[in-house]
Amino acid sequence: MADNAVELSGVTKTFGMHTAVRDLELAIPAGSIYGFIGPNGSGKTTTIRMILRIFFPDRGRITVLGQPTGECADDRVGYLPEERGLYRKMKVNDLLRYYARLKGFRNCEGEIQYWLGRLGASDWGNRKIESLSKGMTQKVQFMSAVIARPQLLILDEPFSGLDPVNLELLREAIQEVRSRGTTIIFSTHEMDVAERMCERVFMIHNGNKVLDGTVSEIQRQFPADEVKIRLAEGQSVPSSIPGVVSIEDRGAFHHLKLDNGSLADSLLKRLANESRLEHFELLRPSLHNIFIRIAGPIAESTQKPVEQAS
């Protein structure tokens, strides 16, 4: 197998006047877990559909598992679409068997039993999909994506609608699939999940790639602009400090947001001089904050000219 499970180079896709994806370069190493993040309508699903060969790019090249994309769908790729994707009237067993056979995996009974047991669903086999709860449906959907032992697994929002227990179960299941050597791409809105699970994260916004790298690489690109402090008992945080945009009281700690360009060490000196400082922590921007910085309403307005230039 090639080093990269998926490679996109110079990929552009337009729908009428709208450019969904622009000049996208992306390489997904084999065996990795790759997170796709981005606001709704940013081009995530279009990118996923191109990798799945449901859409063809207008320009550029896509290689999946060493094969340039052609007319045929690839049996080595498993896919879980965002929400639903199951026949409501079919029984769980029949449905899993059908999806496995569609991928050319005919000897699938053992695999079906394994996954039903693995996800605590052994006695659902003869139940119809329409009788399952949302969380149960989500698990069946996951099973239908992995049932044919794919080499590349694409999960679009796999965790939506799951309670914490099932979320953890599914997270473990994804890690298990990965340990078999499967490359995993998943898109999510839940940044903390992406931060915990993904080796690399890719963010697309308005059809452009805005982030691509490991979580710590990405965090390094963004200056730390938040400080967490605690003063000794009886001391109060001054209501305004030069270079600090906002001060948020969170009980035991205060979170200070730094002005652009202000340095944390000058703040530390200042606070240490003026009061008894018990705790001072420079917070790395979370993926969540980075996401909002890029896609938030303020970022939108400042980004416009850049977009026009490109």
Binding site: L52, R53, I54, F55, E71, C72, A73
Partner: protein, 475 residues
């Protein structure tokens, strides 16, 4: 190929192994035949009763004979005949063959009369609106069924001015009842009274009524089978065709075609719509391309339609054999029926798939389906004309119009008339061509439509999907 078969198998199971299918299978014949059987059944449950009819005979000569006619009619009613069936006297033998056939035909159409008419005399002396009101009230109170006013001059009215159209009519007899316009009793009174009036007027003119009866004897024209020479060289005539069978059998076979196409195309609409709205098509397209998907679904659908055919045709043949009608089963139609059925199911199911793919709700599909139904049902509007004249220009033209070919050709073939072989061949060729074009066009709309979410595309957009080259426009 393996994928296509996998898809076909699921589609077949989804179509056949459902409660809706079993119910539909059972309901269809009930609904279709119900139209002819239920009125008959209801009629059978109706109890025969005496219908009292008052007659105000201004002539003073017609009531007596009319009573006799009513009496004779009452004796021939089925209920009366059942009662006297043990003592097999003359009454049933008196029914002429024509009368018997006429009654059979009326019985089949649910028009059998069962009520006895009992005539009562009301004196014409001083009969005025006051009495008319009294009789009308009696009718409203269900004490009387109707009353008939015969004008005094109906027998004697004479007008030598034959150039005036009004002079050709006798003074009218008036019939009063709650359902005066269409009642059986009114038709009976009209026929019987005119017969009596004619006899009376003839004898007044010096002609014996017997002469009239003699002159009025008719000869029936019997539809008969053609002659042919069998393998032993003996010339034989075919069975005389049963008139009822020759009308209703072709219609039944046409309806069977319609039911099968409907039962096949409708599930396709629902299945594609489900795959689209539940985003199943995305998963499927990750495993098979749009052409494999559509081919598989159509294959499963055709297999399902053949199942319906086998069940219905098998049931009908078994039923006919059991009832002793095995001879009238048109076995020669069956192979053609299957050919037309397969093509029709492919054509209509693919159109339904394209429609389902281009909408997002069943409701939106309805308006697009209407024209399709209309075109397909065209032969239903003219079936009676076609049964009478299977080789008329109308029938021939509709046979070559592919959407109506399946219904029209099976209807024509089932009449037993000789349809030129070139017409059958041409209609099949045209239908194959139309089916190919239809399936390809539907596939183009389908592959784009199944991933299309949000607003329903306009007709112009659908045309763009249709025309664009599918290999580059897969979005």
């Amino acid at each position: 190929m393996q994928k296509i078969l996998t898809i076909a198998r699921r589609e077949y199971q989804a179509m056949v192994a459902t409660k809706a299918f079993a119910i539909g299978l059972a309901m269809m014949p009930i609904l279709m035949l119900g139209g002819t059987w239920i009125p008959g059944l209801l009629k059978g449950m109706e109890k025969s009763e005496d219908r009292r009819i008052a007659v105000i005979d201004g002539t003073g000569q017609l009531l007596g004979p009319l009573k006799m006619i009513a009496e004779r009619r009452n004796q021939m009613l089925p209920s009366a005949m059942e009662q006297s069936s043990s003592d097999k006297d003359g009454s049933s033998k008196e029914l002429s063959k024509n009368e018997q056939e006429d009654r059979d035909a009326r019985k089949a159409m649910g028009l059998e009369e069962i009520h006895r008419y009992v005539l009562e005399e009301v004196s014409p002396e001083g009969f005025d609106d006051e009495q008319r009101l009294a009789l009308s009230d009696k009718i409203r109170n269900n004490e009387l069924y109707a009353f008939i006013e015969i004008p005094a001059d109906v027998l004697t009215a004479a007008n030598m001015d034959l150039t005036s159209p009004a002079a050709l009519q006798l003074p009218p007899i008036k019939y009063f009842a709650q359902d005066a316009a269409l009642a059986d009793a009114k038709r009976w009174a009209e026929a019987s009274l005119n017969q009596l009036i004619k006899a009376n007027r003839l004898s007044a003119a010096g002609v014996q009524p017997q002469v009239l009866l003699e002159l009025e004897r008719k000869s029936a024209v019997l539809g008969s089978g053609l002659f042919s020479r069998d393998e032993n060289g003996v010339i034989t005539s075919e069975e005389k065709p049963n008139e009822l069978a020759s009308i209703f059998l072709p219609m039944g076979i046409m309806m069977l075609m319609f039911m099968i196409v409907m039962m096949s195309a409708q599930p396709m609409l629902e299945s594609v719509l489900e795959e689209k709205t539940l985003r199943i098509s995305e998963v499927l397209l990750g495993s098979a391309n749009a052409n494999q998907l559509m081919t598989g679904k159509l294959l499963g659908n055709v297999a399902g339609s053949l199942t319906v055919f086998v069940l219905y045709a098998g049931g009908a043949i078994a039923m006919a054999s059991w009832k002793g009608f095995a001879d009238s089963i048109p076995f020669h139609v069956l192979p053609w029926f299957v050919v037309y059925q397969i093509l029709a199911v492919l054509l209509f199911s693919s159109i339904f798939m394209a429609i389902a793919a281009s909408v997002s709700q069943l409701r939106e599909a309805q308006s697009l389906l209407l024209p399709v139904w209309m075109v397909m049902l065209l032969p239903m509007f003219v079936w009676f004309n076609v049964v009478r004249e299977p080789n008329s220009t109308l029938a021939t033209v509709l046979s070559f119009f592919p959407p109506s070919t399946p219904l029209m050709m099976t209807l024509r073939l089932a009449t037993g008339a000789i349809i030129p072989l070139w017409q059958i061949a041409l209609s099949v060729v045209l239908l194959i061509a139309a089916t190919a074009v239809g399936v390809i066009a539907a596939a183009r709309i389908y592959r784009i439509g199944i991933l299309w979410q949000g607003k329903t595309p306009k007709i112009t957009e659908l045309l763009v999907w249709l025309i664009r080259n599918p290999t580059t426009a897969r979005n």
